[in-house]
Amino acid sequence: MKILQVYRSEPNDNVKTLVGILNRDRDADEFSLNVESPDYDTLVAKIFAADKTVCWW
């Protein structure tokens, strides 16, 4: 299972805890949208490479 964690803002402690549990024993990747110019091409490639994407607040 490949899981992609996407962050729209800096993750808080709750999000970090949930991500830790969701990523356990899985092939995990991440992407931050919380930058001036996100590379959307890379994000879309990561989404299609993953089985599941979670996009946090």
């Binding site: 729209r8 091409d41 994000l43 879309v44 490639a45 989404i47 299609f48 996009c55 607040w57």
Partner: protein
Amino acid sequence: MAADPNKLGIFVTSPQNMRHVIGIADAAEKAGKTPMIFFTYKSVHLTKDARFKALADKCGEENIAICADSYTCEGYDSAADIPAGLSGKQMRTQAFHGALLDECGKYIVL
């Protein structure tokens, strides 16, 4: 019907991510994928963004819709003020989100 592996569902629930919605939809199209987008609750304010019509035109009638109830709840007129780029058929219910989950092989929330 199995989900289309080349279709990307975008569920928009926040009113502050228009640049991400457009950026991801454009990148998906460039990669040969089909974006399918549903705007709900306070994200319906994004229909008033000057970039919304081009996004709607790009997606086409079957692949973009908004929650009509949300639009009304936010004070807009869902009969007399259909957003630019949409038709009355694209003023939908949460069932469109259900269809998006069923149809799209990939999915992101914004």
